[in-house]
C-alpha cells in the first residue's frame, strides 16, 4: 500500500518526527535517526553554531534527513520571520516550523503572531509548518495563508501529558484539508498511536524521546506506535459500543 505523507513535494514514509533538543549528548542524534528510521527532524536555529564544527548540531544530523528548522525563541512574528530567513541562509533548507512563544510560564504558542508569520513566510517561499494551540479558525487562516501543515499541541510542550486537547484536534482533522501533525505534550507511544488512529497525519515528540532512559529505544517505540496507529486508521476502526453485540445475532435470518 502506498501511504506516503506528502509535504512540500517530499514523500515521507515514517510519520514520526522528532527533535534535537534536551539530549544528554549530540552524538545520540544520528543513532536515533538510524535506528528509528527518522525522516523529519526539527532543530532550533538558536542551537546551531556554524562557527564550531564540534558543537554544531547540524553535523550530527544525517544528510538524507529532512531538516525542519524551528523558530524557538521567537517572541513575535517579526522575530520568527527573521529566524526563519537566517536559518535558510545558514543552509537549513526552506522548511520551517513556526514557533512563536511569548509566555515562559506555560510555553503556549501565540496563535495570532504565528498566523502573521505564516502569511509572510509562505510568500517568501518557505514550506511552512506552524505550531499552534488547536483552534479551528486559526487553522483555517493558516490554510488560507498557504501553510503546508498545521501542528497543534496535544498538551503544553515538554509536559508529557498526552492528548489533552483531543476534541479540538479531532475538529481540525475533520475540517482542515492540510496534514494535521500533533506536536508537543505527547509522552508515550500509546498516545502517539491514539493521535494517529484519530487521523492525524504525523506526530512529533522530542521531550519524551530525549528524556527517556534509552532515547534510541524510545524513538523506535514511537515510530512503531505511529505506524500502528496509522495502519489502524487506514483499516477503519470498528465502532465502539457500550454494550456487547453478539457476533451471531438472533435476527440474522431476516437479512
Amino acid at each position: 500500500m502506498n501511504d506516503k505523507l506528502i509535504i512540500g513535494g517530499k514523500e515521507i514514509t515514517n510519520r514520526f518526527f522528532t527533535g534535537t533538543g534536551k539530549h544528554p549528548n549530540n552524538a545520540i542524534i544520528p543513532q536515533i535517526v538510524e535506528e528509528a528510521k527518522i525522516e523529519v527532524i526539527t532543530v532550533a536555529l538558536r542551537r546551531v553554531d556554524l562557527t564550531s564544527p564540534q558543537e554544531n548540531i547540524l553535523n550530527y544530523i544525517p544528510k538524507d534527513c529532512i531538516l525542519l528548522p524551528n523558530t524557538s525563541g521567537a517572541r513575535n512574528a517579526e522575530e520568527a520571520v527573521r529566524i526563519a530567513k537566517l536559518a535558510r541562509a545558514c543552509g537549513c533548507g526552506n522548511w520551517v516550523k513556526i514557533e512563536v512563544i511569548s509566555d515562559n510560564k506555560y510555553l503556549l504558542p501565540d496563535n495570532y503572531e504565528t498566523v502573521k508569520a505564516a502569511e509572510i513566510l509562505v510568500k517568501e517561499g518557505f514550506v511552512v509548518l506552524p505550531y499552534v494551540s488547536p483552534d479551528l479558525m486559526v487553522a483555517k487562516a493558516l490554510e488560507d495563508a498557504g501553510a503546508a501543515a498545521v501542528m497543534p499541541l496535544g498538551a503544553p510542550i515538554g509536559t508529557n501529558r498526552g492528548l489533552q486537547t483531543k476534541e479540538l484536534i479531532r475538529i481540525l482533522i475533520d475540517e482542515i484539508k492540510l496534514p494535521i501533525i500533533v506536536d508537543a505534550g505527547i509522552g508515550r507511544p500509546s498516545e502517539a498511536a491514539e493521535a494517529m488512529e484519530m487521523g492525524a497525519a504525523a506526530v512529533l515528540a522530542n521531550t519524551a524521546v530525549a528524556t527517556a532512559r534509552d532515547p534510541v529505544a524510545m524513538a523506535k517505540a514511537f515510530s512503531m506506535a505511529v505506524e500502528a496507529g496509522r495502519k489502524a486508521y487506514m483499516a477503519g476502526l470498528g465502532p465502539v459500543r457500550k454494550e456487547a453485540e453478539a457476533s451471531s445475532p438472533l435476527t440474522g435470518f431476516l437479512d
Binding site: 534536551k22 546551531v48 537566517l86 515562559n104 530525549a210 528524556t211
Partner: protein, 340 residues
C-alpha cells in the same frame, strides 16, 4: 506558602525526597543539559562601598578599564574555548564605564558571542532599551540583600544606597524586552531562608507579569574578598541544597545559575538537583582572560578553577550535554545577515 514550607527547617528532613522530585522536574523541562557561560570583567572602577566586595571604592587596588582593543583580545581568548554566551561586568561608575562604553563593548563582543548579558549598575528602562538595541539579551542584577535595614548598613555610600532603584531594576529590564533576567540575593548577608523566600517571590512576580522574559535566579554564597568582611550568617551546603530544591519545586521552569563561587565537587553534585546554567573558565579580574592585561585582583575569590574543557568533560561524564549556544543574534555579521 508551600514555598515557605519548602524552605523551613522542618523541610530539611526531607531533602532526598525533594531532590528526587526536583531532578525529575529539571530533566522534564530542560533535559540533561547545562548552559555554559563565563563572566568578562570590563572595569573595576566603582563609586560604591559595599562592605563585602573587593571593588569597593575604599579599597586600594589597581583600577582598570579595558580599552576596546583589550575587550577584543579577551573576547578572542574566551571564544577560543568554545563559549558563545558571555556575561559582562563593571563596577558602578558613570564616569569610567557609562552606558555608551558598555554599548561600544557590546559592538565588539557581538562579533564573537551569540548571547551577551550584562551585570552592571542598575539603569533606567530607556538605558536598558538602548543596550537591548545594541545587542544585549540578558540582564543579571542581584538585590544582594532584600532586608532593607541590612541593605542600608552594608551599602554605606554611593549610588547603590538607593534600595528601591535597585529592587525595580529587573522589572525595568523586563520592560526593555530583555530575553532573560537573572536575580539573586548574596547568601550570608542575612537569614538565608528569608532572603531565598523574597528572591523566589520576586522571581515569581516578574515571571507572572512579564511572561515573555525568562526569569532565572542565582544562589551566590559570599566569598572571601579584600576588606576581610565576615558574613554574619553561615549558609552550609545542606542549606544551599535546600534553597536550590525549593526554587525548583516552586518554579519548575525557572533557570537556576551556579557560579564558580562553589567548589568543583559540590558543583558537580548540584547539577542533578536543578542547575541549568553554569559559569566555566572563570576569572573575576578585569582582563583576567589574557594575562598581560590583568589587574591581579579579582572581585572575589573563586573556588572552581576548572577550564571550559574540564567542565565540559565533567558534564559529559555525568550524562549531561554542555550547551554552548542557546540563542542566535537576529542581526549582524554573526547572525548570518550577510547571507540574506
Amino acid at each position: 506558602m508551600d514555598f515557605l514550607t519548602l524552605l523551613s527547617p522542618q523541610a530539611a528532613n526531607y531533602l532526598e525526597a525533594m531532590a528526587q522530585k526536583a531532578h525529575r522536574l529539571t530533566v522534564q523541562h530542560f533535559g540533561r543539559t547545562v548552559l555554559l557561560f563565563t563572566p568578562m570583567y570590563l572595569s573595576n572602577y566603582c563609586g560604591n562601598q559595599c562592605v563585602y566586595c573587593s571593588f569597593s571604592s575604599n579599597h586600594r587596588l589597581v583600577r582598570k578599564k579595558l580599552t576596546l582593543d583589550e575587550v577584543e583580545e579577551e573576547a578572542k581568548s574566551i571564544a577560543a574555548t568554545g563559549l558563545r554566551h558571555i556575561l559582562i561586568l563593571t563596577g558602578e561608575s558613570q564616569k569610567h564605564s557609562p552606558v555608551s562604553y558598555i554599548e561600544d563593548c557590546v559592538k565588539v563582543l557581538k562579533k564573537y558571542f551569540d548571547s551577551i548579558s550584562i551585570e552592571i549598575y542598575p539603569l533606567t528602562t530607556e538605558d536598558y532599551t538602548r543596550l537591548v538595541k545594541a545587542g544585549v539579551d540578558g540582564l543579571t542584577i542581584y538585590q544582594e540583600v532584600y532586608n532593607e535595614e541590612t541593605y542600608d548598613q552594608l551599602h554605606p555610600r554611593g549610588p547603590k544606597k538607593n534600595y528601591r532603584f535597585r529592587l525595580d531594576a529587573p522589572e525595568r529590564g523586563c520592560r526593555a524586552k530583555m530575553r532573560g533576567v537573572n536575580i539573586g540575593a548574596l547568601l550570608g548577608l542575612e537569614d538565608y531562608r528569608k532572603e531565598a523566600f523574597f528572591t523566589g517571590l520576586h522571581a515569581s512576580y516578574l515571571q507572572n507579569k512579564y511572561m515573555d522574559t525568562e526569569i532565572s535566579v542565582s544562589i551566590p554564597r559570599i566569598r572571601p574578598n579584600i576588606g576581610g568582611f565576615t558574613p554574619k550568617f553561615s549558609v552550609p551546603d545542606r542549606s544551599l541544597v535546600q534553597i536550590i530544591l525549593a526554587f525548583r519545586l516552586f518554579m519548575p521552569r525557572m533557570g537556576i545559575t551556579l557560579s564558580t563561587r562553589e567548589r568543583a565537587e559540590l558543583r558537580n553534585n548540584l547539577v542533578r538537583l536543578g542547575i541549568t546554567k553554569m559559569s566555566a573558565g572563570v576569572s573575576t579580574e578585569v582582563g583576567g582572560h589574557t594575562i598581560k592585561n590583568s589587574t591581579g585582583t579579582g572581585q572575589f575569590e573563586i573556588s572552581d578553577n576548572r577550564s571550559v574543557a574540564e567542565i565540559k568533560e565533567m558534564l559529559l561524564q555525568m550524562g549531561y550535554q554542555p550547551v554552548f549556544k542557546d540563542w542566535h543574534q537576529l542581526n549582524g555579521e554573526r547572525a548570518g545577515e550577510q547571507l540574506l
